[in-house]
């Protein structure tokens, strides 16, 4: 497989490499369900989860993925309340080099931070979310979830709804889904749609009924409370009224449309509990399961290419 040393984004992957990663991940889904978890693909390798931003679920998912492949997993949380802590980033890189870490999973609140680290560390770097840039493993696990239900990951209408402007999940999904030949729609108020995004081959809607019309997949994005104080959205109730995913809005989508959310959810803001917990339409819990399998596939692929 043509594969670079790091996974910094979906940018840099191609349909062939995405498909083979998803195939490998699919095999791990079966293995994980069988209960025969511990394998030795990463035995003797060290995986460091370096989180500059709190994220229990993503960190746990990578931790589990690493442990199921036999890696030694270490979690490092580095608080970065102040933006001037950037220097810590390169100091940390030097420390990790000295420890001979093999795989480095990085989450940072600044776009491009994992790319900066990748220039300085010997380990293979996996971007676990950087600022408002990319979150590639989330897009891969979304793709795997879609493929399991729809039998394909092309020719589908995918509506990504809500705070696209601040979403790295949206950017990685836009790249992956357009690359694989899907029709991607963005639905949200103009203040939450990034400038010039149409250039990436997506269609923008400001009305949920129109944006969801005939959609095969509906993805709701998390809306953070800061968006209200920044004046981008007047209030949570106004947002929910016009952009929150509820049964009435979902009725415009295809009858077998899947509902997805990258989590953690703000129930009653971007998604109604009624929809989030609907066992037929919602695949939100399955997304979490796919996350572990996809991360196992990513870790194994990078470790193979990184024979140190």
């Amino acid at each position: 497989m043509a594969y670079s040393r790091h996974l910094l984004g979906i940018e840099g992957l191609n349909p062939v490499s995405v498909t083979s990663l998803l195939d490998l991940a699919a095999s791990y889904v079966l293995l994980n369900r069988s209960g025969k978890t511990q394998r030795d693909a990463l035995r003797g390798r060290t995986l460091v989860n370096l989180f500059f931003e709190d994220s229990t679920r993503t960190r746990t998912s990578f931790e589990l993925a690493g442990k199921r492949l036999g890696a030694d997993v270490i979690n490092m949380s580095v608080a970065t309340s102040s933006v001037t802590k950037g220097e810590t980033l390169l100091d940390t890189a030097a420390t990790l080099n000295a420890m001979n870490c093999d795989l480095l999973v990085v989450r940072h609140n600044r776009s491009g931070a994992p790319a900066l680290l990748a220039q300085k560390v010997d380990a293979a770097v996996i971007n676990a979310g950087d600022g408002t840039h990319e979150h590639p493993t989330q897009a891969l696990l979304d793709a795997l979830t879609i493929r399991r239900h729809k039998g394909r990951i092309s020719g589908l209408i995918v509506a990504i709804c809500g705070d696209v402007a601040h979403s790295r999940v949206a950017r990685s999904n836009i790249l992956l889904l357009t690359m694989m030949g899907n029709f991607v729609r963005l639905v949200g108020p103009p203040t939450l749609i990034p400038a010039g995004i149409e250039g990436l081959g997506v269609t923008v809607f400001h009305d949920m009924a129109a944006g969801l019309s005939g959609a095969d997949i509906v993805m709701a994005l998390r809306l953070q409370k800061e968006r209200m104080s920044a004046g981008l959205v007047p209030s949570a109730r106004e947002f929910f009224n016009f952009y929150g995913l509820d049964r009435a809005k979902l009725s415009h989508a295809a009858p077998d449309a899947l509902v997805m959310h990258p989590g953690p959810m703000n129930r009653g803001v971007e998604i109604d509990s009624d929809i989030a917990d609907d066992p037929v339409r919602s695949v939100i819990r399955e997304q979490v399961e796919m996350g572990v399998a996809v991360r196992m596939a990513v870790l194994e692929s990078l470790a193979k290419g990184n024979n140190r």
Binding site: G86, E87, S111, A115, G131, G196
Partner: protein, 422 residues
């Protein structure tokens, strides 16, 4: 005595390139023309194909000193300037401490004299501490030698404050220099708004933040009768407004800097923090408009907008990295690149680097005329060199032009008849 023989020089009266000789005596330009005799004991510099122009007059640069000596000192900036043919620099006041006191103004001038190679012309702070609240002492600062007033890289944001600054400065016959960027729109931004910034996930500033500020300040200049100068103009929209204001006869001038006519926003690809500037690099359409503004005379000068930064300022995630690029050593070369590519003619390009900023600043240098100071730059327009960050003269290495091949090599720089480079 120095005799430059068989060169082309930029005649200060005609602003044309003329073939001939030029004689320097007692630190002044003594004579020039065809076939000057060789006085006894005279050093002869023969440079076929080379061009002799006035030492460059850079109307906008920060030098790191005082307060940021880890980035650059005046001595190291003088070295970089000499290598780039620059003999006069107007320096920004947003240092630490800021230049908001007459003693600071005199001290900057004296530090320039100490270098022996570079005249420093200090801008005074437009507001105390460049903090954007109360006016600085324009009269006292002017008498100490301040050439105009500005808050440097900070926009004079308050509309009432800007009105008062323009109005009060007019009483002393002084200009206000603005960093034209609507402060509210620009807060926290790191790149120009558009598909690229959206895709890279960078906090962005709409390009019209410049025109909004320019429109306001032109309106205030009309209201007050004051004179405003816009620094580093980078957008078509702002240039259109400035051209209209000039047509109306308002006291409005502007400059730009090489990154804004040589680079566009693609330079920040892969989060290259050396290309993070303030204002941020623009779309190519705006870059072409800046070039057109240089050619049609809307833009009055090319300044380096030199902003020294050290590696620790730049080796950070893009949004956290300090904006600014080193620009002294590359000012001439990048401008000449536009001559090579046909965007400007040579005499016009040199005028934008010498006589035009010199007239704006009201200094005697910047023109080849008899009796003027022999501040000179000899360069070969066809000899090439490559910009390499880490190997530039001086301390500041944060060039946005890293790797760029340039034609136009400085062979020598003279300050008052003394060779300071080459």
């Amino acid at each position: 005595m120095i005799l430059f023989r068989n060169i082309r020089y930029l005649d200060g009266a005609t602003e044309q390139l003329t073939e001939g000789d030029l004689l320097v005596e007692n630190g002044l330009i003594a004579d020039f023309g065809l076939g000057l005799g060789v006085p006894e004991g005279c050093e002869i510099i023969e440079a076929t194909g080379a061009v002799l122009c006035p030492g460059l007059v850079d109307m906008r640069a920060s030098l790191g000193e005082p307060g940021f000596e880890y980035r650059e000192t005046i001595a190291s900036a003088a070295q970089a300037a000499a290598s780039g043919g620059i003999t006069t620099i107007a320096v920004l006041p947003d240092t630490a401490p800021p230049v908001d006191d007459p003693a600071m103004v005199r001290s900057i001038v004296a530090r320039g004299v100490e270098t022996g190679s570079l005249s420093l012309l200090p801008y005074g702070a437009a507001t105390r501490g460049c903090r954007g609240a109360e006016l600085a002492e324009y009269g006292l600062l002017r008498d100490a030698g301040a050439i105009a007033f500005t808050d440097g890289q900070r926009t004079i944001g308050g509309t009432r404050l800007m009105r008062q600054a323009l109005s009060y400065a007019r009483g002393f016959g002084m200009r206000i220099v603005q960093h034209p960027e609507d402060a509210d729109l620009a807060a926290g931004g790191a790149a120009t708004e558009g598909a690229r910034a959206s895709w890279m996930g960078l906090p962005a500033i709409p390009a019209c933040a410049e025109a909004i500020c320019v429109a306001r300040d032109i309106t205030l200049a009309a209201l007050t009768g004051g004179a405003v100068h816009f620094a580093h103009i980078s957008t078509r929209q702002a240039l259109t407004l400035i051209a209209q204001a000039k047509d109306r006869g308002l006291a409005v001038t502007c400059d730009t800097a090489p990154p804004y006519f040589d680079l566009n926003e693609t330079a920040i690809g892969d989060y290259r923090t050396y290309a993070k500037l303030s204002p941020p690099l623009r779309a190519d359409e705006d870059r072409r408009a800046v070039l057109a503004g240089l050619a049609d005379g809307t833009i009055d000068a090319i300044a380096s907008d030199h902003q020294p930064r050290d590696a620790d300022d730049k080796r950070l995630p893009f949004a956290d990295a300090a904006p600014g690029g080193a620009g002294l050593a590359t000012l001439l070369g990048v401008t000449l690149a536009q001559v090579q590519s046909g965007g400007l003619n040579l005499a016009q390009a040199l005028g934008l680097l010498t006589s035009r900023p010199a007239s704006w600043l009201g200094v005697a240098s910047g023109r080849i005329l008899r009796g003027r100071p022999a501040d000179l730059c000899l360069f070969h327009p066809a000899r090439s060199w490559r910009v390499v960050a880490g190997q530039l003269p001086g301390k500041a290495q944060n060039t946005p032009f890293d790797g760029r091949a340039l034609e136009g090599l400085v062979l020598g720089t003279w300050k008052a008849g003394i060779r300071v480079w080459g």
